[in-house]
Symmetry: C2
Subunit: 257 residues, 2 copies
């Protein structure tokens, strides 16, 4: 059963997040400033950047010593070898490294540019942020902490902006989650004319992440979180983001690009 109506609200009242900050508390307080409070069944979407900031997931280029491999890849991709070393530290596999792109599979299984390292909205010269450490565990902790602070059962989704094959422009992917089923499986259900659907299973988590991005800020607008209200509670439940990853050997698109 689909929801009648979704509301998506950007959470504007957050201060600059710093390492060690109690992010769930900042969210609750930020929402309060906007006249909002959590309801049971709300989905709260957080940009990777504030989660990484609260975790202190930064590095400075000057603290890295590049390996021979990093130096070699840096030459091919015209990047700083220390930056390449940081990317390699986060990666399980390098898929492309040449003039245009350094594309890897991260240790968490996400295929993306530069292992998600970037310096946008990060303070300090030569300072970059890493993706959060264990985003599923972090989402679960945030969910539990919101329950403790407010008594409300919410779902939590951590997202980041990624490029994709075939399509122009970036979209959001869910990189960590708690309290919702990331996939809705229609296979075996009947359509309008009683045919069984054979292929349809929808990535709700990535769709929620995209929906949230529409009210979140890139750049200097400072809207690093969104509240989604009205999402069907039957879609909630305990899960994690692992089911969103396709392993290379069974990827339908193998060899197409």
């Amino acid at each position: 059963m689909r929801p009648q109506e979704l509301r998506i609200v950007g959470i504007r009242g957050l201060p600059m997040v710093r390492p060690g900050d109690d992010l769930p508390r900042l969210l609750v307080e930020g929402m309060k400033k906007q006249g909002l409070a959590f309801h049971d069944g709300d989905v709260i979407v957080l940009s990777q950047k504030i989660v990484s900031k609260a975790q202190g997931r930064f590095f400075r280029l000057r603290d890295l010593l590049p390996s021979r491999r990093a130096v070699e890849i840096a030459k091919r991709t015209k990047k700083d070898p220390r930056f390449v070393q940081a990317v390699l530290n986060e990666s399980s596999e390098v898929l492309r490294a040449d003039g245009e792109a350094l594309i890897v599979r991260t240790k968490n299984g996400i295929t993306c540019l530069n292992a998600g390292l970037d310096r946008s909205n990060v303070e300090g010269q030569g300072t970059y942020s890493l993706l959060p450490f264990d985003p599923d565990a972090e989402a679960l902790w945030i969910k539990k902490r919101i329950k403790l602070l407010t008594g409300r059962k919410v779902a939590v989704l951590i997202c980041d902006t990624f490029s994709r094959p075939f399509r122009s422009g970036q979209v959001e992917f869910a990189i960590g989650l708690a309290g919702l089923n990331p996939i809705e499986d229609y296979r075996g259900k009947k359509d309008l004319f009683g045919h069984r659907l054979r292929f349809k299973f929808v990535s709700l988590a990535d769709e929620l992440a995209c929906a949230a991005e529409l009210v979140m800020g890139q750049g200097d607008e400072g809207i690093p979180a969104a509240l989604i209200r009205g999402f069907n509670s039957k879609r909630l439940g305990s899960s994690n983001s692992k089911s969103l990853i396709v392993s290379r050997s069974i990827d339908l698109f193998r060899g197409t690009i």
Copy 2:
């Protein structure tokens, strides 16, 4: 400037759409049944299926005569050669054809399974729907017709559900649009600390499509359209879906899968 709040409402009052139906009129009437009316700046998202139905974009397997190439691909993919012929008719290039998948680039540039042909929610044994003919032109016509019927300036987006590399589950892509800029380009803008953003350009059209899918139906629920209200009017404007397509030769992910 990001919107404060988005509302996303599934449009439930549509009848079964048939070839030749005046889809914009059905939308206006369907919304009226729900107590809704179009506002300037609304984004109306339509599933490919109702647009194809209104255009009469169907074929029956028994009407197709497979070529030798279709027969050969059908053997490799264990599909009906007439179905394969229909896929080839819609495609500019076959990217993968083996036991697991028939992946093509359509004449409109979309990389997908089976050129978007399917029979879910289509009436009649052996009858399949094709993607709409010229979805951008169709979106523009729907936009103009809604203006004529209601006096309101809306944006129109036609979407379909597609599989993607690397990620599990399907999401919506915008395959045709009118009245909105599909991409928001942040490159050159400043972040919280005054750094210039170098890479960020977001596919708003695909994000809107994903947001709409959260209230639309796949199976037998019959919610083939959604209204998105609160989308920033600065993001509206005249455009089409061509800028959402990356040509193969410049695809950053070339060789990664």
